[in-house]
Amino acid sequence: MLAFIARRLLVAIPTLAVVVALSFALTRAAPGGPFDEEQALPPEIRANLEAAYGLDQPAHRQFVRYVAGLLRGDFGPSFRFRDFTVTELIAGGLPVSLTIGLAALTLALAVGIPLGAGAALARGRFLDRLVMGLAVAGISVPVFVIAPFFALVFGIWLRWLPVAGWEPGRATDLVLPVATLALPVIAYVARLTRGSLLEVLRAPWIRAARARGLPQRAVLLRHALPAALLPVVSYLGPAAAAVLAGSLVVETIFGLPGIGRHLVQGALNRDYTLVMGMVIVYAVFMILLNLLADLAYAWLDPRIRHGRRA
C-alpha cells in the first residue's frame, strides 16, 4: 500500500510541474503588468519597483527564481498587497475555505449515496422519481443561483440563519454556504449511485450471493454497495473541482474570509505571484483528493485490494 501511495505521489509531480509552468506562462504572456495604474508611475520608480520584485529580469530567469522559491515553500511576495507574502495571504484564508470545502464534500457523500441507493431500490416508484427529479434540478441550478436564493429565503424572509458574515466558532454562519456548495454534488452523487447500483444488482455475483441464502441486508451492504460506489469514488476529483469553483461564488455571497476572492481579484490586479500561488494550492488540493479517491478505489475493489493489479 505504501508503495502504491508513493507511486501516485510521484505521478503528481509532472502534473504540478505543468500547473506551475502553465500558470507562469499565462500570467507573463498577458498584456499589462502589476504596476500599471490609472496614473503612470515615474519611470525611475517603476524601474526600481520592477527591480525589487525581479520583474526586470528575463522571463526564464524569473521562472527559475520562482521555482527555487517554491521548492523552499516560499510563494514569493504579493505584488499588490504590499508587505504581505503570498504564503501569508493564503494561510490567512485557507482554514475557512478548507472547512467549508471539506464539510460540503462530506455532506454531499453522506446525503447523496443513501439517496441514490434508496432510489435504486425503489426503482420506478415515487421515491425514485423524486430523487431523480431533484438530481436533475441539482445539476441544472448553478451555485450562483442557489446561493442568493438561500440567502433570500433562509436569511432575509425566514430569518433562521445569518445572511452573511463570519465569526470564528459560530457554526450557523457555515450552514448556508456548506449546503449551497453541497447541493449540486449531492445531485450528481445520487445519480451516479443509483445508476451503478442498478447495474451491480443485475450482476451474476449478486445472484450468487442471494443463492447462498444471504439476507438482503448483507447482500446490499457487503456485496452490492462497495462495488456500486466505484464510479462515485472516481467522481471525487471532479467533485472537488466543482466545490472549489463554487467556493469562489459562495465566499463572495456569504461574505466569508476565505481564499476565493484572491484568485479573481489577483488576476484583475495582475498580481502574478498571488494568482499562481492560488492555482498551485488548488491543484495540490485536487491532487490530494484524487490520491484519496485512488486509495478508496483500491480498498473497495477486491481485485486491486488483493494485489492482482496494484
Binding site: A137, P148, T252, V275, Y282
Partner: protein, 282 residues
C-alpha cells in the same frame, strides 16, 4: 450508418416526453432570444427615468419590471439569453472540433502516438481548469471572444476521450480495412470513414456540453470577469439581481429562472438523445 438506425433513434426520441418538452422549450427560448428584443419597445441599455426598479406587471410596457437604473428587464434578459446561447454554441463548436480531431487521430493511430496524446489529456484533466479559464479571460481582455476561446480551449478533453474510445474500435472494422486496401491516406480515412461514424456519441455529448458551457459562461460573468456591462448576459444579470435581492427580488428571479429553464431543457434533450442513440445504456 444506415437510415434505419437514425429513423429508429428519431422514433425513440419522439416517444420521450421529457426530451420533446426540452426540445420545444429550447425552440421557444431561441426564438424569443432572436426575435424577442424586436417586439419590446425598449432597447437593452435604454433608461426609463419614470420607472426605476418597478416590479413585474406593475407598469404598462415593462412586463417583467425594470432594474435599479430603469432598464427594461425583459429586454435585458432576452439579450442576455442571446449572448449566453451564442457563446455556448460557439464554445461548444470549438471544443467539438478540437476534441473530435484529437480523439479520432489518437484512436486511429494507436500505439505510442495515442499513448502520448491521451497522456496529455490526462494531465490537463487533473488541473483545476476553471481557474485557468479565469486567468485567461481576465488576462486577455474580458470580452465574448476571449471567453469562448478560453472555454473551448479547455472544454474538449471529455470529447477527445469519448471519440478516441470509439475510434479505437471503429478502426478494426472491415470498411476501414477496405479503405486502407483501397489506398486511402490517414487523413482521408479519419475524415471520411472514422468521423462520420462517430456522429451519434458526438451529438449526444455536444448536447450535454452546451449546458455546461452556459453555466461556466454565466459563472464567469457572475464573478464580473465575463460579459461586461452594459452588455447583458444571464450571468451578470444574476449578479446584479443578487445584489438587489432584498428590495427587488424579481431582478434575481427573472434571469435566474431563464437560465435554469435553459439548462434544464438542454439536459433533458441530451439525456433523451443519449437514450435514443445508445439504447444499450439503460
Amino acid at each position: 450508418m444506415t437510415g434505419g438506425l437514425w429513423r429508429d433513434a428519431l422514433r425513440r426520441l419522439a416517444a420521450d416526453r421529457a426530451a420533446i418538452t426540452g426540445l420545444v422549450v429550447l425552440g421557444l427560448l431561441t426564438m424569443a432570444a432572436l426575435a424577442g428584443p424586436l417586439l419590446v419597445d425598449w432597447r437593452q441599455d435604454q433608461i426609463d427615468w419614470e420607472h426605476m426598479a418597478v416590479p413585474p406587471f406593475a407598469v404598462e410596457g415593462h412586463w417583467l419590471g425594470t432594474d435599479r437604473l430603469g432598464r427594461d428587464l425583459l429586454v435585458r434578459t432576452l439579450h442576455g439569453l442571446r449572448v449566453s446561447l451564442a457563446i455556448a454554441l460557439a464554445a461548444t463548436l470549438v471544443a467539438l472540433v478540437i476534441g473530435v480531431a484529437w480523439g479520432a487521430l489518437a484512436g486511429y493511430l494507436r500505439g505510442r502516438t495515442d499513448a502520448l496524446m491521451m497522456r496529455f489529456v490526462d494531465v490537463l484533466y487533473a488541473l483545476p481548469l476553471v481557474f485557468f479559464v479565469i486567468i485567461l479571460t481576465v488576462v486577455f481582455g474580458r470580452g465574448p471572444v476571449t471567453l469562448l476561446v478560453a472555454i473551448g480551449a479547455f472544454g474538449w478533453l471529455t470529447m477527445a476521450r469519448i471519440v478516441r474510445g470509439q475510434a479505437l474500435s471503429l478502426r478494426e472494422r472491415e470498411f476501414v480495412e477496405a479503405a486502407i486496401v483501397g489506398g486511402a491516406g490517414t487523413a482521408r480515412i479519419v475524415v471520411r470513414h472514422i468521423v462520420p461514424n462517430l456522429l451519434g456519441p458526438v451529438i449526444v455529448y455536444a448536447t450535454l456540453t452546451v449546458p455546461q458551457v452556459i453555466l461556466v459562461e454565466s459563472f464567469l460573468s457572475f464573478l464580473g470577469i465575463g460579459i461586461q456591462e452594459p452588455l447583458a448576459s444571464l450571468g451578470n444579470l444574476i449578479a446584479d439581481g443578487a445584489r438587489e435581492m432584498e428590495t427587488a427580488p424579481w431582478m434575481l428571479a427573472v434571469p435566474a429562472g431563464c437560465l435554469v429553464l435553459l439548462v434544464f431543457a438542454f439536459n433533458f434533450l441530451g439525456d433523451g438523445l443519449r437514450d435514443a442513440l445508445d439504447p444499450r445504456d439503460r
